[in-house]
C-alpha cells in the first residue's frame, strides 16, 4: 500500500491516515527511545551552568570510534583541526621526538584495531606543510528537511529548526515572555499539538494542511512516534538511527530536555518529553515527506539509511588518523613536560607546625595562587579538595523556600540549609525578609509598568531620560547594570553576616550526629587528620563579572555553577563547633583546641581572597589572621602579575576593570588550558609552576589503607575533571556543534539558555571567546592526563569495580598514570602498566 501518491506539491496526502499502524509494534520502541535518550548529554540552565561531557554515553567506545559513531547522524568534528595542531606545534607544545613516540603510544592505546598509525615522517610532513589535508566530508544521515534544503528552493532545515526552537523556548520559558504559553503545564508533545493546530507559519511557507496533519497525530508521544516511524517509510531496523538523526538536528533543546527529564527534582520531571521532542521533530520531516515536494528526495531520504546507518563499518578516515596521531604527539609532549616537572619536585619538608593551612578547590585556577602563597611563606601549607567541601546541600536564600544545589551535578543534595543573618534577632530577621519581599515585589510591579502593552510608552517618557545617567555610570564602571540582589533588605553593616547557619529558630537543624559525620568526612577525605595549623582556611571560589550570562561557567563547578562561599562557611561552622570536635575526639580524630577554621572565597577574576565570619574568630587568633591576610594580598598580587600575559592586559590592575566592565567579553579565562589532574601529596607538585593547567587533589595513600578515599576521588572528582576537560576540548575542536559560538551575538532565551543571533537551536557549551583570544587558542584541545600517587594495584582494584571509569581510561577518554615510590607508570588500554619516562 503506497504511503503517498503524487498530487499537488506541498499538499500532505491523507488517503491512508486512518489505516491502523501495525508495522512497528513488534519493536520495543520504548527501549529504542530510552537508548536514544541516554546518548543525549544534558545541559543545565544558565544560572546553574556547569560543564558537561558532550560525549556522554559514548565512553563504552574508543574515543576515535566515537567520532565515527557521532558522524553517522550529525556533521561534527571530534578531533582538533590541522591548523590547531600546527599552532600547538609551532608554539613548542610538542617536538619531533614526541611525534616519533606516537607509534608506540598508538599501539598502547588501541591494541586490537589493526589500523597502523601514520608514520612519523607523514605526521611531520603534515605539520610542516601549509596545505589543508583533505577530509572526506559528511557522509551521515540527513533529515528530510536538510535534503530538501540542499536542493535550493526553501531552506526547510533552518525553518524547522527555528520553528521548533521558538516553540521549545516558549514552552520552557522561565520568565522572559510577559505573555507565557497557555500550555506550559502540559507535556511537551501535548503542548506542541495544541500550538501547532493554530500556527499557520508552515502552511504559509508551503506545507499546506500541516495543521490538519497535526490534528490527526496520536496524542501520546510514543504512539505518535510509532505512527510517524511507520509513515516515514524507513525500514524498521533503522529506527534508532532515524531517532538519533532527528534528535541531532535539534541537539541543543534535546540536551535541555534531557536535563529536565533527569536532573530536575523528581516531582517536576516529565519523562516522556524527550520522546515527545523526537516525535515533534519527526512530524516535521514526515510532513515534508508526505507533502511530496520532491519525490526523488523522499526516496533518497529512505535509502540513505542503508548506507549510512551502520556504524560498525565506519572507519576513521585517513585525515582523521593523521590528526589523531598528531593529537597523541601533542599529548605526549605535554605529559613529557608535566612528568619532568613532577619528578623534579622537592621532597616533602616535615617538622615545624605550619602557621596556616589553606584548602582550595581542585580547580585549575587554584594552582596559581597556591603556588604563590607557598612561595611567599614557607609555613603556609595548601591543599586541593573538591570545592563543595563534601557538603551536598540545597542552599535556600533568605526569605525563599527552595534554592540551588550547592554540589556537583553528579550528586543529589542531601539536606537543606537556609541562609540567615547571624546576630540578628528573630524579629529583625523577619523584618529583613519582609523588606526584601517588598523591594523585590516593587521591582516586579515596576517591571510590569515598564513592559506592559500600553504603559511602556509612559514609562519611557517619564523615566527614560534617567537612563542617560545610567549609561554614563555603567560605561565608566561606577555602577553595574543590574542590582546585586543578594543582600536585598539587609542593612549594609550586616552584609557580611548573611550566610548559612547551622541552627535557626524556625528550621530543623542538621542533627549533631550528622554534623560529626560530615566533619569526619571532610577531614579524612582531605587527609588532614593531624598536624593541624592554628588557622585552617577552607577557601571556595567564585568569579566577579558584570553583564555576563555565562557567569555560572566561571563559578565553582563543584558547587553546581555557584560560588563556593556557602559550602566553605558551613563547613567551617561545623568544624569549629565544640560539640562536634568533642565527638570527633572521642572517635580518635583530635583537632587541637587552638585550631580555628576560617571560611574564605577566592575571587578568581581579580585573585583576591576574602575571609568570612571574622567576628567569630577568637581574639587569640587575631594576629594570625592579620598576618595571613597580608600573605593572601601578596599572593593575589603575584597571581595577577602572572596572569597579565595571558589576559593580554597592560597591567595587573586591569583585572579589576574586567570584573566591573559591562562590555568585557573575557573577564577571565576560567578553566581554559586545563590538561591534567594530579591526585597526590603536595610534595609532588610543590615549588614548580604548572601554569594554571592542572587540577590538584590532595591525597595521601598512606593514610588510606583500604583505598576508600581513593575510590571516592576516582569516581567523583576525577569524573568531574574529565567532564570539564571534554567540554573545553569539544568547544575548541567544534565550536559550532559543541560550543555556543560567538559571544557578541548571544541572545539569552527564556532566561535559561543562549541563542546565537536571531534564532536557531539552543546553544550548549562554551563561547568561542572562552577558548580563543582572537590570535591564539587559550585552550589546547588535549585529553585529560590523570596522575595518581597511589599503588597501581589499588588503582586497578578501583577500575575493576567501576566499569564507567575503566571505560574512560581504557577507551582513550583520558590518560591515567600512577606514581609509586617516585616512579611514574602509564596505564595501557590492555590494563597493564608501562614505565613512563
Amino acid at each position: 500500500m503506497p504511503l503517498f501518491t503524487a498530487a499537488r506539491k506541498g499538499r500532505i496526502l491523507w488517503d491512508d491516515l486512518t489505516t491502523p499502524v501495525v508495522l512497528h509494534s513488534e519493536f520495543d520502541l520504548e527501549q529504542i527511545v530510552l537508548d536514544a535518550q541516554s546518548a543525549v548529554p544534558p545541559v543545565w540552565p544558565l544560572q546553574d551552568y556547569v560543564a558537561v561531557n558532550p560525549f556522554l554515553g559514548l565512553s563504552s567506545r574508543h574515543f576515535l570510534d566515537a567520532g565515527a559513531r557521532l558522524r553517522r547522524v550529525r556533521d561534527v568534528e571530534t578531533l582538533p583541526s590541522i591548523e590547531q595542531l600546527r599552532e600547538i606545534f609551532q608554539r613548542g607544545g610538542f617536538d619531533q621526538n614526541d611525534v616519533a613516540a606516537v607509534a608506540i603510544r598508538w599501539r598502547e592505546e588501541r591494541a586490537d584495531d589493526g589500523i597502523s598509525p601514520p608514520s612519523a615522517a607523514r605526521l611531520l610532513a603534515a605539520l610542516n606543510s601549509e596545505d589543508d589535508i583533505e577530509s572526506r566530508g559528511y557522509t551521515g544521515v540527513r533529515s528530510m528537511a536538510e535534503l530538501l534544503a540542499e536542493t535550493g528552493g526553501t531552506d526547510w532545515s533552518r525553518i524547522i529548526t527555528n520553528d521548533l526552537s521558538s516553540f521549545c523556548a516558549a514552552h520552557f520559558d522561565d520568565g522572559q515572555a510577559a505573555w507565557p504559553s497557555p500550555w506550559k503545564h502540559l507535556e511537551l508533545f501535548a503542548a506542541w499539538l495544541e500550538s501547532s493546530r493554530i500556527d499557520q507559519r508552515l502552511e504559509r511557507l508551503g506545507i499546506s494542511a500541516f495543521r490538519e496533519f497535526v490534528t490527526r497525530l496520536p496524542s501520546r508521544p510514543i504512539d505518535a512516534l510509532r505512527d510517524l516511524l511507520t509513515r516515514s517509510g524507513v525500514a524498521p531496523e533503522h529506527s534508532r538511527t532515524l531517532l538519533d538523526a532527528q534528535l541531532a538536528s535539534i541537539a541543543g533543546w534535546a540536551s535541555f530536555v534531557r536535563y529536565r527529564t533527569q536532573h530536575l527534582p523528581e516531582a517536576q520531571r516529565i519523562n516522556s518529553d524527550l520522546a515527545g521532542l523526537a516525535a515533534i521533530r519527526l512530524a516535521y520531516d514526515v510532513a515534508l515527506l508526505l507533502a511530496d515536494i520532491q519525490p526523488e528526495m523522499a526516496i533518497r531520504f529512505r535509502e540513505q539509511f542503508e548506507t549510512a546507518g551502520d556504524d560498525s563499518a565506519a572507519r576513521p578516515s585517513q585525515d582523521e588518523l593523521l590528526r589523531y596521531g598528531l593529537l597523541l604527539a601533542a599529548e605526549i609532549g605535554y605529559q613529557r613536560r608535566l612528568l619532568g616537572q613532577l619528578s623534579e619536585a622537592s621532597s616533602e619538608s616535615r617538622g615545624t607546625r605550619k602557621s596556616a593551612q589553606l584548602v582550595f578547590c581542585i580547580d585549575v585556577r587554584s594552582e596559581v595562587i597556591r603556588r604563590h602563597l607557598e612561595s611567599i611563606d614557607d609555613l603556609v601549607e595548601t591543599f586541593g579538595f573538591a570545592g563543595f567541601f563534601g557538603l551536598p546541600f540545597e542552599y535556600v536564600e533568605l526569605g525563599a523556600d527552595q534554592g540551588p544545589a550547592q554540589c556537583p551535578v553528579l550528586l543529589q543534595p542531601a539536606f537543606k540549609v537556609r541562609e540567615a543573618v547571624e546576630g540578628a534577632s528573630d524579629d529583625e530577621a523577619h523584618r529583613f525578609v519582609e523588606k526584601r519581599a517588598r523591594l523585590r515585589n516593587w521591582r516586579l510591579a515596576w517591571k510590569s509598568f515598564q513592559s506592559s502593552t500600553f504603559s511602556c510608552f509612559s514609562y519611557v517618557e517619564s523615566l527614560g531620560l534617567g537612563y542617560a545617567v545610567k549609561l554614563l555610570t555603567d560605561s565608566l564602571g561606577f555602577t553595574r547594570p543590574a542590582p546585586l540582589s543578594r543582600f536585598d533588605g539587609v542593612p549594609r553593616r550586616l552584609h557580611r553576616q548573611v550566610g548559612p547557619v547551622l541552627q535557626s529558630a524556625c528550621e530543623q537543624a542538621i542533627p549533631l550526629k550528622r554534623q560529626v559525620e560530615l566533619a569526619r568526612g571532610i577531614l579524612t577525605n582531605l587527609g588532614l587528620t593531624d598536624g593541624f595549623a592554628r588557622l585552617v582556611v577552607l577557601c571556595g571560589h567564585g568569579c566577579e563579572t558584570t553583564n555576563n550570562p555565562y557567569r555560572g561557567g566561571l563559578d565553582c563547578g563543584a558547587c553546581g555553577g555557584h560560588t563556593g562561599e556557602a559550602n566553605a562557611r558551613l563547613a567551617c561552622r561545623i568544624l569549629n563547633s565544640s560539640s562536634v570536635r568533642e565527638l570527633l575526639a572521642e572517635s580518635g580524630l583530635r583537632v587541637p583546641h587552638d585550631t580555628w577554621f576560617v571560611a574564605g572565597l577566592h575571587n578568581t577574576t581579580i585573585d583576591e581572597i576574602t575571609l568570612f565570619d571574622r567576628h567569630a574568630i577568637p581574639a587569640s587568633h587575631a594576629t594570625d589572621v592579620v598576618a595571613l591576610e597580608v600573605t593572601l594580598a601578596q599572593a593575589g598580587r603575584l597571581t595577577r602579575l602572572e596572569r597579565i600575559g595571558r589576559m593580554g592586559a597592560s597591567s595587573a590592575e586591569d583585572t579589576f576593570r574586567r570584573a566591573k566592565d559591562w562590555s568585557e567579553i573575557r573577564p577571565e579565562w576560567g578553566l581554559a588550558g586545563n590538561a591534567a589532574f594530579v591526585v597526590g601529596r603536595r610534595s609532588l607538585t610543590r615549588g614548580t609552576s604548572l601554569g594554571g593547567r592542572t587540577f590538584l587533589h590532595s591525597y595521601d595513600h598512606r593514610k588510606d589503607p583500604d583505598h576508600k578515599v581513593l575510590e571516592l576521588i576516582m569516581t567523583a572528582p576525577m569524573v568531574v575533571t574529565n567532564w570539564i576537560n571534554l567540554q573545553y576540548y569539544a568547544s575548541t575542536v567544534d565550536n559550532v556543534a559543541y560550543g555556543s559560538g560567538n559571544k557578541v551575538l548571544h541572545n539569552v532565551v527564556g532566561q535559561l539558555g543562549i541563542l546565537e543571533g536571531n534564532a536557531g537551536d539552543l546553544r550548549t557549551g562554551l563561547p568561542w571567546q572562552s577558548v580563543h583570544d582572537g590570535t591564539r587558542m587559550q585552550h589546547d584541545p588535549l585529553r585529560l592526563t590523570v596522575i595518581i600517587e597511589a599503588p597501581r594495584t589499588a588503582i586497578d582494584g578501583i577500575l575493576d569495580k567501576h566499569a564507567n571509569i575503566r571505560n574512560l581510561v581504557e577507551n582513550g577518554w583520558m590518560y591515567l598514570a600512577a606514581c609509586e615510590s617516585g616512579q611514574f607508570y602509564r596505564r595501557r588500554a590492555d590494563g597493564t602498566w608501562a614505565v613512563a619516562a
Binding site: 522572559q176 519581599a437 504603559s455 510608552f457 545610567k470 560605561s475 543590574a482 562590555s663 573575557r666
Partner: protein, 530 residues
C-alpha cells in the same frame, strides 16, 4: 555663532576622518582604531555640548560654507536649532557609549577595525543628517546612513541570516529613498530651492494656493512614507527583529540612534508636513497600529533581544503617533528618552538573569479582588492625571494630540498603581500613589521642558477640529483600551487560555515577516528561509 556652526560640522567631520581610514589598516591595528574611535566620540560629545549650550544662549544658528549654482542653488552648510542641537548631543553621547562598549566587546575579533570604521562612518552620516541645512544634504545623508548601516548589519557575511535581514532592510530603505528622492524633485521644482529657510518661510503662503497645497500635501505624504521605512513602521517593520545577527553594540546604535531618523525627519520637515493633513492622519494611524502591534507581539517573545526589538517597534509607533497628532515636543522627548532607555537595555542584555533574580520574591496570594483594585487604581490614576499637569500649570488637553496622550498616561498610571496595590495587597498604598504622582509629575514636567526648549523652532499645528480627527482619536483610543483589556485578560490562566489563538499568532509576529522574506529570496535568488 560661527563657533557653533563650526563645532556642529566638526562632529560628523571627526567621525568621517576616522571612518575614512582603509579597512586593511584598521583591521591590522584594532587597538589604534579603538582608541581613535573613542577619541573621536569624546571630542564629538564635547562639541555637541558646546552647540547645545550655544543654542540655549543664542538660539538657532545657520551657516553656509560652500555655495554652487547649477540652475538651482546648492549649498553645504549647517542648521543648528534646538532640535538639531538636542539630536547632536543625543547621538554623539550614544556614539561615545557604543564605541567604548565595542572596544572591549569585540576584542579579538579579526575585523574589529573594520567594525569601528563603519561605526564611525554611520555616526558621521547620522550626524550630517541632523545638522544639514538643506533638503539635498539631508537626502544624501539619509541614504548614506542606511548604506553604512548595511555594512554593519552584514558584519558577519558568513551568516546567511545576517544577510537576509540586511537585505530586507536594504529593500525597504531603497523604497524610502525613492520617496525622499521624489519629494526632493518636487521641492526643487516647486520652491526653486533646497534651503530649509526658504522652504519653511514659503510653505505657509504656498499652502494657501490650490496647486501649491496639493504639491505640499504630496511632499508631506512622501516624507511620511520615508519616515515609516526608517522607523520600522507597520507593515515595514519586519527587518528589525531579525537584525540580531549583528554584534550587540550595533543593535544599541540602531535602536537608539538610527531608527529615530524617521521621527527626526517628521520633526525637521514639520513646517512642510503640517500642510499635509491626511499625510499626518495616515502617520498617526500607522503609528497607533504599529504601537499596539509591536507591544502585543513583544509580550509573547521569549528571547531578550527579540523582545527589545518589538519594544522598539512599539515605541517608534507611539512616537510616530505623536508626530502624526502634531505633538512634536512629546515626540522629541520620546526620541531622546527612548534612545537612552533602549541603548541601555541592549547593552545590558547580558544581565537579564541578574535582573530576574532581583525580582524573585515569594508569591503571596492577594486577598482583594482584581476588580476592586482596578476601580480604585483607576480613580487614583484619574486624580494623578488631573493633578500633575496642574502642578506645572499646563493643560495638555489643549495641546495637539493631548487627548490621546492623557488617555495613555491615565491607563499607564492605573496599571502602575494597580500592580503595586496587587503586590502590597492593599488598595492604593502610599507608595503606589507616590509612584503614580512621581511618574505623572516627571512626564508633564519633561513635556513642558521640551515644549519650551523647542519654542517656535518647529511648526505648531493648531488642532483643528475635523471630523476625521475625532474618528482618528476614537480609533486610537479604542486600540489602547483594547490592549488594556488584553493585559487584564492575561493576568489569569483562564484568560490566557481563552486568548490561546491570539497567543500563537502574536508569538509568530502575525506572520508578517514572510512576504518580505519571499521578496528577498526572489531578488537575490537565494533560498527562502524564515
Amino acid at each position: 555663532m560661527l563657533l557653533i556652526a563650526i563645532a556642529s560640522c566638526l562632529c560628523p567631520a571627526i567621525y568621517l576622518a576616522v571612518g575614512m581610514l582603509p579597512t586593511v589598516w584598521a583591521n591590522a591595528r584594532p587597538h589604534r582604531m579603538r582608541g581613535l574611535a573613542q577619541g573621536a566620540s569624546l571630542l564629538a560629545v564635547g562639541l555637541a555640548g558646546l552647540c547645545l549650550f550655544g543654542v540655549a544662549t543664542s538660539r538657532s544658528t545657520e551657516a553656509t560654507f560652500l555655495r554652487a549654482n547649477v540652475g538651482i542653488e546648492l549649498t553645504l552648510g549647517v542648521y543648528v536649532d534646538p532640535l538639531a542641537a538636542t539630536m547632536l548631543l543625543l547621538i554623539t553621547g550614544l556614539g561615545w557609549v557604543v564605541t567604548r562598549f565595542a572596544a572591549r566587546y569585540l576584542d579579538g575579533e579579526p575585523s574589529q577595525g573594520r567594525f569601528m570604521k563603519w561605526m564611525c562612518l554611520t555616526l558621521a552620516a547620522v550626524l550630517t543628517l541632523v545638522i544639514s541645512r538643506n533638503v539635498l544634504m539631508f537626502t544624501c545623508a539619509w541614504v548614506l546612513t542606511s548604506l553604512s548601516l548595511h555594512q554593519l548589519l552584514t558584519h558577519y557575511r558568513d551568516r546567511p541570516a545576517a544577510l537576509v535581514s540586511a537585505r530586507k532592510k536594504f529593500l525597504i530603505s531603497r523604497f524610502g529613498d525613492l520617496a525622499l528622492l521624489i519629494a526632493l524633485i518636487l521641492i526643487g521644482r516647486t520652491f526653486g530651492s533646497f534651503e530649509y529657510d526658504v522652504l519653511f518661510a514659503q510653505a505657509g503662503d504656498l499652502a494657501k494656493t490650490a496647486d501649491g497645497g496639493m504639491t505640499l500635501a504630496w511632499i508631506g505624504f512622501l516624507y511620511v512614507l520615508g519616515a515609516m521605512t526608517k522607523s520600522s513602521q507597520f507593515p515595514l517593520h519586519s527587518w528589525l527583529p531579525d537584525t540580531m545577527e549583528t554584534p550587540t553594540p550595533v543593535s544599541a546604535l540602531m535602536h537608539a540612534g538610527i531608527i529615530n531618523a524617521g521621527g527626526f525627519l517628521v520633526l525637521r520637515f514639520s513646517p512642510l508636513i503640517v500642510h499635509s493633513t491626511w499625510g499626518l492622519d495616515f502617520l498617526a494611524l500607522i503609528g497607533g497600529v504599529t504601537a499596539i502591534f509591536g507591544a502585543v507581539v513583544m509580550l509573547a517573545q521569549t528571547s531578550v533581544k527579540r523582545s527589545l526589538a518589538f519594544s522598539t517597534i512599539a515605541q517608534m509607533g507611539f512616537m510616530m503617533l505623536q508626530c502624526g497628532l502634531g505633538a512634536y515636543p512629546a515626540a522629541l522627548l520620546h526620541i531622546v528618552a527612548h534612545s537612552c532607555y533602549k541603548a541601555h537595555a541592549f547593552l545590558s542584555s547580558g544581565s537579564v538573569l541578574e535582573y530576574a533574580a532581583a525580582r524573585r520574591a515569594p508569591l503571596s496570594l492577594p486577598t482583594l479582588s482584581r476588580e476592586k483594585l482596578l476601580l480604585a487604581s483607576a480613580a487614583a490614576a484619574f486624580a494623578v492625571t488631573v493633578v500633575t499637569p496642574w502642578i506645572w500649570r499646563t493643560s495638555p488637553i489643549e495641546k495637539p494630540g493631548g487627548v490621546i496622550l492623557l488617555l495613555v498616561m491615565f491607563l499607564a498610571v492605573t496599571h502602575l498603581i494597580q500592580k503595586i496595590s496587587r503586590v502590597r495587597d492593599r488598595i492604593c498604598p502610599p507608595d503606589a500613589l507616590a509612584a503614580g504622582l512621581a511618574v505623572g509629575t516627571a512626564y508633564f514636567g519633561l513635556y513642558l521642558m521640551f515644549d519650551r526648549w523647542l519654542g517656535d523652532s518647529l511648526a505648531r499645528p493648531t488642532p483643528d477640529a475635523h471630523l476625521r480627527d475625532y474618528v482618528l482619536i476614537a480609533l486610537v483610543s479604542v486600540g489602547f483600551l483594547g490592549v488594556f483589556w488584553l493585559q487584564w485578560m492575561l493576568d489569569t490562566p483562564h484568560g490566557r487560555f481563552r486568548l490561546r489563538g491570539l497567543y500563537v499568532h502574536a508569538s509568530r509576529g502575525f506572520y508578517l515577516d514572510l512576504p518580505l522574506q519571499r521578496l528577498v529570496a526572489r531578488v537575490w535568488k537565494t533560498q527562502l528561509t524564515a
